[in-house]
């Protein structure tokens, strides 16, 4: 096994990552990095985190053998890591619990977050309520309109939701606005970023908090089937659930790591969010990574049926894993993801999130060409209750 110890001290994954922010944020990022590095190695903090993950989040999440779906697909065995069973319904809470605990240790009484579909906003509002902190969530006004239920959930949990009217009024603009809040209120405010992007130390820190997913799999897979899987498949928007399951597997070089991006209406249509498949390197939101941009370096609008994958950047560690060849990145369309969504509902009694349905769709495609003694592990990163309106609308119904 090769040792993998990225990022370097300044947050670089090869040419990617780093700290591309205005000077006004540097001291806050330095303080955050120092606090995180101290607590990361603090057994008391780790014990407290483990307790929270067990009793509040409900970890460990099980691995489930999808027997009927495997039979329907025909080919390799399909296993699901059940992050959909976590409190709040997705992997996002692994990270927000960790960051909220960090905020508390740093003495911050106010947390802010950006959100696209609202999942990270809900996970942030949840932990803010749990720890008694004020919570402000920035959300593009387009998303506020499309995700009324999650907006209501955040409000029930005591958070303030601020609609963002600038730019394309979606996730990337919410992130810009959260950064502006942070730089203005940096003394008492902790910014909970929801994915493995942003300036150092966020990509590393969010990955570490989510890597509990992959660590559990490393132990669970041999118990269940006597060995590690042949391939691990996860969807990639910003990339936090994928980084969480990939990271502990990076040194296991005989395990293929496959990230599945949102192909939207197809790459050729231009309506997609497949940053690694169709983008090029640049700098956005504090790090160097692959971006969807025009020839002048302006960020372009993305499209996906799944709001959680609808982001024009991607975590810098994924950019590095792509270039180094350790991970492969593919994409599936809205229609393929929807088909997989329905397959899992009907064959396993599990309603997956539309984000996770992208991973399911590609895993099925992969399984068909593999022998039945092969094993594919899919990160079922979230449940699909939040997607009822979207799916119904697609089928010509209004709820």
């Amino acid at each position: 096994m090769k040792i993998y110890d990225l990022p370097d001290a300044r947050g670089h994954f090869g040419p990617y990552g780093g700290t591309f922010v205005a000077e006004t944020l540097i001291s806050a990022l330095d303080a955050l990095r120092d606090a995180y590095l101290t607590l990361r190695d603090d057994p008391a903090f780790q014990a407290e985190l483990a307790y929270e993950l067990k009793h509040y989040v409900g970890r460990p999440s099980p691995i489930y053998f999808a027997r009927r779906w495997t039979a329907k697909v025909g080919g390799a065995k399909l296993f699901l890591k059940r992050e959909d069973l976590n409190h709040t319904g997705a992997h996002k809470v692994n990270n927000t619990v960790g960051q909220a605990m960090l905020a508390r240790h740093m003495g911050k009484r106010r947390v802010i977050a950006e959100t696209g579909a609202g999942q990270h906003g809900v996970a942030s509002a949840t932990v803010a309520a749990r720890y008694g902190m004020e919570c402000v969530v920035y959300m593009g006004s387009e998303d506020v309109r499309r995700q009324a239920q999650n907006v209501y959930r955040m409000k029930l949990l005591g958070a303030t939701v601020v609609p963002v009217e600038s730019g394309s009024k979606t996730l990337k603009d919410a992130l810009n606005e959260a950064m502006r809040d942070w730089v203005t209120n940096v003394d008492d405010t902790f910014y909970i970023i929801g994915t493995v992007a942003g300036p150092h130390p966020y990509p590393m820190m969010v990955r570490d908090f989510n890597s509990i997913v992959g660590k559990e799999c490393l132990a669970q897979m041999p118990e269940m089937c006597g060995r590690q899987p042949d391939a691990v498949v996860a969807c990639v928007g910003g990339g936090s659930n994928a980084m969480g399951i990939f990271h502990p597997y990076i040194p296991h070089e005989d395990v293929r790591l496959i990230g599945v991006e949102a192909g939207g209406e197809g790459i050729a249509s231009g309506h997609h969010a497949a940053t690694l498949s169709a983008g090029s390197p640049g700098v956005l939101h504090g790090n160097r990574t692959y971006l969807l941009q025009d020839q002048n370096g302006q960020i372009i609008e993305t499209h996906s049926i799944s709001a959680g994958l609808d982001y024009p950047g991607v975590g810098p560690e994924h950019a590095w894993l792509k270039d180094s060849g350790r991970a492969e990145y593919v994409n599936v369309t809205d229609d393929e993801a929807l088909a997989a969504f329905h397959d899992l509902c009907r064959n396993e009694g599990i309603i997956p999130a539309l984000e996770s349905s992208h991973a399911l769709a590609y895993a099925a495609r992969l399984a068909r060409d593999m022998d039945p003694d092969r094993i594919i592990l899919v990160n079922l990163s979230g449940r699909g209750d939040k997607d009822m309106a979207t799916v119904a609308q697609r089928m010509g119904m209004t709820l």
Binding site: A22, S27, T184, G297, I299
Partner: protein, 268 residues
């Protein structure tokens, strides 16, 4: 000597401070950019900071965000901004021009090409908001080769050690961000600015400009007492936004004159 250095030298000789307006190139439309630049110079500006519009201006408040969006509606690119500077240079070979923007349009062009086109267009300095000193080595080299100044932002939270790092990389002037937050936010605390400028001078030998939050001529005058340059951004952009079609150059020219006369009365 560079245009920026000689500008500061001449001002110092006459006991005056530099007045540096900022606006976004292409706001309200590309054709008005060069007339705006000339009007600002005529009104008393010593250096012009020309904003490069970007889709995700993370460090800017709502006023400059809106100006960026207006410019992008016209599809203004970094190369077009350089073209505007070239056109300005046809009539003005004396006033330094600094382009200010975010990293990604520069990355897209590549450091060498960016620096080369900047030089050919008559650009004197660059402020790259989201390239802190740790991340800009290649950019510094590309610009130095062509004698273009890289101007750094310094914040109240910048440590002394970082100021020393910036001092090794910076040329032209340094830009003190006078408050926490984004451009155009609250009013500034002038006593705190004085303390910060004094701290910067212990580490950096270059002229010190102060910006972010300077909304009126009186504040500019107070800041000019302690700094070498006053940067006025959101206030100018608001004037452009409020001006009826075709009136923006005259309006900002008059605003500049007001700042200039109040600042110069304050100079003793």
């Amino acid at each position: 000597m560079s245009r920026i250095a000689s500008t500061f030298q001449q001002l110092a000789a006459s006991g005056r401070k530099a007045l540096i307006p900022f606006f976004t190139a292409g706001d309200p439309d590309p054709a008005t950019c060069v007339p705006l630049m000339h009007a600002l110079v005529k009104g008393g500006a010593n250096i012009i900071e020309l904003g490069v519009p970007f889709s995700d201006p993370m460090a800017d408040g709502p006023v400059i965000q809106r100006s960026s969006e207006r410019a992008l509606k016209h599809g203004v690119s970094l190369l077009q901004v350089f073209e505007m500077v070239r056109s300005f240079r046809e009539q003005d070979g004396r006033t330094p021009v600094v382009v200010m923007g975010y990293a990604n349009p520069i990355e897209r062009l590549g450091f060498e090409r960016f620096a080369e086109v900047a030089r050919q267009s008559g650009v004197d300095g660059v402020v790259a908001v989201d390239y802190p000193p740790e991340e800009c080595e290649e950019l510094v080299l590309a610009l130095r080769k062509r004698e273009i100044d890289l101007i750094f932002l310094l914040a109240p939270t910048t440590t002394d050690a970082r100021m020393d790092t910036v001092s090794r990389l910076a040329s032209g002037y340094v830009y003190h961000v006078s408050l926490r937050g984004v451009t155009g936010a609250a009013h500034i605390d002038t006593a705190e600015v004085a303390r910060q400028v004094e701290r910067i001078r212990r580490h950096v030998q270059l002229p010190v400009g102060v910006g972010f939050g300077i909304r009126d001529a009186e504040t500019a005058c107070t800041v000019a007492d302690v700094a070498d340059a006053v940067v006025v951004g959101s206030r100018i952009v608001l004037e452009i936004e409020a001006a009826p079609a075709g009136a923006a150059p005259a309006r900002v020219g008059a605003l500049m004159q007001e700042f200039r006369s109040v600042m110069d009365c304050g100079a003793r």
